[in-house]
Symmetry: C2
Subunit: 329 residues, 2 copies
Amino acid sequence: MTRTRIGIVGYGNLGRGVELACRQNADMELAALFTRRDPQNVQPATADVPVFAMEDLAAHVGDIDVLVLCGGSARDLPEQTPACAALCNVVDSFDTHANIPDHFARVDAAAKEGGTVALVSAGWDPGMFSLARLYATCILPEGNDYTFWGRGVSQGHSDAIRRIDGVADARQYTVPVPSALEAVRAGENPQLTTRQKHTRECFVVAEDGADKAAIERAIVEMPNYFADYDTTVTFVSQEELDRDHAGIPHGGSVIRSGATGAQGENRHVVEFSLKLDSNPEFTGSVLVACARAVHRMSREGQTGCRTLFDVPPAYLSAASAEDLRAHLL
Amino acid sequence: MTRTRIGIVGYGNLGRGVELACRQNADMELAALFTRRDPQNVQPATADVPVFAMEDLAAHVGDIDVLVLCGGSARDLPEQTPACAALCNVVDSFDTHANIPDHFARVDAAAKEGGTVALVSAGWDPGMFSLARLYATCILPEGNDYTFWGRGVSQGHSDAIRRIDGVADARQYTVPVPSALEAVRAGENPQLTTRQKHTRECFVVAEDGADKAAIERAIVEMPNYFADYDTTVTFVSQEELDRDHAGIPHGGSVIRSGATGAQGENRHVVEFSLKLDSNPEFTGSVLVACARAVHRMSREGQTGCRTLFDVPPAYLSAASAEDLRAHLL
C-alpha cells in the first residue's frame, strides 16, 4: 500500500474535517498541521501531530506528499494555493465559481514551475455536483440542468446577518422550494427564477433593546443576499440558537432532464443528491480522496493544475483496478 | 472539432439507441452499420448510412474510428468484443457483472495485440451506477451501499415468463419496495433481504384455454427469477399489453449512507438516481459519450481495455477543458 503523507494548512472546521477523514483511510497519514496562529496555541485532535507556523512551510515540505489547503476562497486561497503549489503537491476547495478559470491558470503556472500537481475546486459544489453536471450533460446533450442547494446552512449569509446593527448572532438556512424540485424531478423542464427555486430562513439573536422590526427589514431587503428571495426571519434566544442550530448541515440536488428519440419523445431524469450532517466533514472527505489521486498523478511524473474533471475516478480509490472492476463495476 | 466516425454492430433496440444518440452530438458521424442479417433487409433510420455484413467488417474498419457493439452479453459480446477489438477501437455494454474480470482480460489482450482502445461494461449498470458507487465509496469509506432497480422492465424476466407453456406474451417490471428505499434514504442503514428490496409485477397474456392458475404458479415459484420475491401476476389481453406496456422504461437509485466525525456522529447520504423512459436509448447515449473518450485515448496512443473507472470525465465531453471549467465546474 502506498501511504500518502498529508499536511493540513489551516485548522478551522474544514481542517478538522480533513483530519478526521485521514483517520478513516488506512493509506493516509496526517504528517503535520500548518497554521498562521501561534503553533503553541493549536492543539490537534490527533496525538503526536506536529504543528508548524505557516512561514516554516518550506522547511517541512520534504515530509509531506500532499498539502490540503483549508483556507477560505475570498482571501486565503487566491494567494495560498499558487504559493504552496510552487513547493508541494496541493488540493484546495476554491469555490468562487466565477473566478475558477483565473485561479486555475495561476495555480497551473506555479505547479508547472514547481514540478508539482495541484487539484483545485474540490468538494461538493464545486466538486461532486460538478461531476454530476458533466456526466449528465455528456449523456443527455439535449436537456436542462438544475442545481438546488439545501436544506443547509450558508455561512456567508449567516455572516451577513451578523454584521447588521443590533444582531448578536444568526444562522441562515438555504431551502429549496418543494414544488420547484418536484416539477424538475417530474421532467417538466420549468423555467425558474431565483425566487422560485430557493427560500431563505433566518434565525436571529437580537441584542437587548434592539429594534427587531428594523433588523428584519435590513435582512429581507439586503441586496444580493436576500432581496431576490422569500425570506423568513425568526428571533430566538442565544440558548435556542446554540441548542437547535449548532450543526453545519448542507446538501442539495443536481438534476438533468433530457430527451432522446427520433422526435425527443423519451424523457430521462438524472439526479445526484446529497444530505450532509456536516458540510466541512464531507468536504474534508472529498479533499482526502483527491489528495490520494494527486499523489498518484505526481508519482507518475505529471505536473500542473487539475480539477476532478481530469481525474480518472479509480485514482480516488485505494483499491486496485482489479478489485474495483470485480466489486464496484 | 474532431469528428468520430461510429460503426454500429448489431441493429436492435440498443443499436437504434446509438443511432439516435449520434444525431444529438455534432462531433459524431454514423459511418456504417454491421449486421449478421442479410444487409439488404436492414433499413437504417438514418439516410445514406451503408449496411454491411459482419463478415465484411475487416474490409471497412479503415473508415471507422470506434465500433459500438450492440449485441447481448450472454452470447454475442464474449466473442464479438475481443474479435472486434483486434481490428478497431470498440465500446460495449457487457453487463454480466460476475464475468466482467474475465471479459476485461480477454478484451485487454486483444486490444493490446491490435493496438486499439476498448471500453467495456458501459451503460447505466454497469456504467453510471458503478461510477456513483465508486465516487461515494472513496469519499465515505465507512458506510453501506444500496442499489435499487426500477420501476422498470426486465427483459430477461419477461423472456422467462414467455417460455412458460400457455403464455402468449408477457412484460415484467422490477419495482423497489418504497419502505426499504425510504429507510435507506433516511440513513438508517437497514439490512435488507432480496425480498425486502424489490417486488416483481408481471403482466401476462395467456393463450386461449390455458390454465391461468398453473401459469401463475409456474411464475411465482420459478427459482432464481421469482421465488425469492413477492411477485404479482396480472392477466391482460394482447391489446392491453400492447397499449399499456409498450415502452422500455427503467431506472433506479444507488445510495451510499456513511458516517464521519470523531465517533461517527455525522451521517451523510449520497444518492444517484435515474428515471428513464427508454432504457436502450439512454444506454446508447452513454455508449456514444464513451466512444468519444475512446477515440481521444486512441489518438493519444493508448492501447488496451478500459472501463469508465479509468476515463477522466472531461474525455466524455466534446467541450474544451476551459469551457468545462468555466461553465460546469
